[in-house]
């Protein structure tokens, strides 16, 4: 069993005096998959970056902590909105980057396994410039899964994928990340309907909790309750300011 802490963030963020988000309170329960939706520019990535210990330019006024009180530092993996692959490394080396940067033994075999699981077995030796956008995004996903951290922050991780690859990567991530605390930013109501055990909609007024069906994720994308929930969420996003 992974010892995954809950995430707690409450306060407001500004950059150079300009308000970015908040005041708001976010709770991501321990070991659960929380989806975060909301219009572009509302501050989702900023919030994720703060939780990852980044964002020196952001002034955050409030508290930010793990549910167990221990520091988050070293327990978080972040998949940012851009893939951030290093162009001089091939896909396998990019996936194994974390170990390399920490001076640990490089786990090339494990990296290759993860690449196989994201469907890139034939591309393991290619450098990023020789990969498509969707392939690059899957390499970045593999790199994030490879980190094996109890808290995983995903910023639009499947945005560049075709429908089929997207559904597969959702299934894979749900399986690999089961038991971890996941905070997943997405613009796709169907994705939130499949994956979230908790779904939050962020607006300028703060966060709204939109409880998903209480079946276990990943939910079938064509199940009645998934589709009904997706519709409801979509309606809410349309009405949000």
């Amino acid at each position: 069993m992974i010892d995954a802490p809950a995430l707690h963030l409450s306060g407001r963020a500004t950059i150079g005096g300009t308000p970015i988000f908040g005041p708001l309170t976010l709770e991501a329960p321990a070991g659960e998959w929380t989806c975060l939706l909301g219009p572009s520019g509302v501050g989702k990535s900023t919030l994720l970056r703060l939780l990852a210990g980044l964002g020196e330019e952001v002034v955050f006024d409030g508290d930010l902590a793990a549910g167990d009180g221990a520091p988050l530092q070293g327990r978080v993996a972040l998949m940012a909105q851009s893939d951030l692959l290093l162009p001089w490394l091939d896909a396998t080396e990019n996936v194994a980057l974390g170990a390399r940067l920490r001076g640990e033994a490089p786990q090339r075999d494990r990296a290759r396994d993860v690449l196989v699981r994201v469907g890139l077995a034939d591309h393991a030796g290619k450098r990023p410039h020789a990969l498509s956008g969707g392939q690059r995004q899957r390499v970045a996903l593999a790199r994030t899964l490879m980190e094996d951290r109890p808290v995983v922050l995903l910023d639009e991780p499947f945005s560049a994928l075709d429908a089929r690859a997207r559904a597969r990567m959702q299934d894979l991530s749900a399986e690999v990340l089961a038991g971890r605390t996941v905070l997943h930013v997405t613009h796709d109501a169907g994705e939130a309907a499949r994956l979230g055990t908790r779904v939050l909609v962020m607006s300028r007024d703060g966060l709204a909790d939109v409880p998903p069906p209480d079946t276990r994720p990943p939910r079938p994308f064509d199940a009645g309750d998934t589709l009904a929930y997706q519709g409801k969420l979509m309606r809410l996003l349309m009405e949000a300011v």
Partner: protein
């Protein structure tokens, strides 16, 4: 192939223009010799010119190699240590206010008339461009990569060697390309100030004896040498870092 043809074409055109200038102005051959005369001299004095060209080439390559190593090391030191940055960087910039040419006599005094005073001149002239091109690139690592490394708990030294340095190598390469053109200038100045060998020395000697054709021949060899060094550095950089 087409590239070689194009270069040959351009060279031919330049020589035609040169000959036309000589013919039209009617300048005497001890002021401006024509290409025919110069290439004739280049051929008849080939052993003499080659002997001096080898000396200059050695100075240039040594200066280039040492300058590249020193520039690489200095840029890394500056990028890695804020202390080094605050102390050394102003000194480096200030040192650029001293014209390198003015140092040539001092270098000759310290290092003698031999090879090393010229190597030092070549080195001094390329050190700053190499260092600053590489240093600037080291300080401009895309922030996303640095953040990724931080979330992954990378040690600063590994961030430097595994991310910042590889990301900055194209910058180092552009410094080296500049250096390949500057290094021969340094070597020639060194030879002018005091030498008994090298193309710069040969040019002075030829000038003193009013052998303007020999001077031009040496000049052409020097230009070709510079172009070759530049092409070699360019090819090396491409091979190593810009595949």
């Amino acid at each position: 192939m087409t590239r070689a043809l194009r270069i040959a074409g351009i060279a031919l055109l330049a020589f035609a223009a040169w000959q036309a200038l000589v013919t039209l102005t009617g300048l005497p051959r001890f002021i401006l010799p024509g290409p025919g005369l110069v290439f004739g001299t280049l051929w008849t004095s080939r052993a003499l010119i080659a002997e001096h060209a080898v000396v200059t080439a050695t100075e240039v390559l040594l200066g280039l190699g040492l300058g590249a190593v020193l520039g690489f090391g200095s840029a890394i030191l500056l990028a890695a240590s804020p202390l080094a940055r605050s102390v050394l960087r102003p000194m480096l910039v200030f040192s650029q206010a001293v014209p390198v040419f003015a140092l040539a006599p001092i270098l000759t005094l310290w290092l003698g008339y031999g090879l090393w005073s010229k190597v030092a001149m070549a080195l001094l002239i390329i050190y700053f461009p190499v260092t600053s091109a590489f240093f600037d690139a080291l300080m401009r690592t895309p922030p996303g990569w640095l953040e990724l490394a931080r979330v992954m708990n990378a040690a600063p030294s590994r961030i430097l060697w595994r991310i910042r340095v590889p990301a900055a190598l194209p910058g180092f390469a552009s410094g080296l390309r500049l250096a390949a053109v500057y290094a021969p200038i340094g070597a020639i100045i060194g030879e002018w100030v005091g030498a008994s060998r090298g193309l710069g020395y040969l040019m002075l000697l030829a000038n003193g004896r009013a052998k303007i054709d020999l001077m031009f021949a040496a000049l052409i060899v020097l230009a070709v040498l510079t172009l070759l060094v530049h092409a070699a550095v360019d090819a090396l950089c491409r091979r190593l870092w810009e595949r």
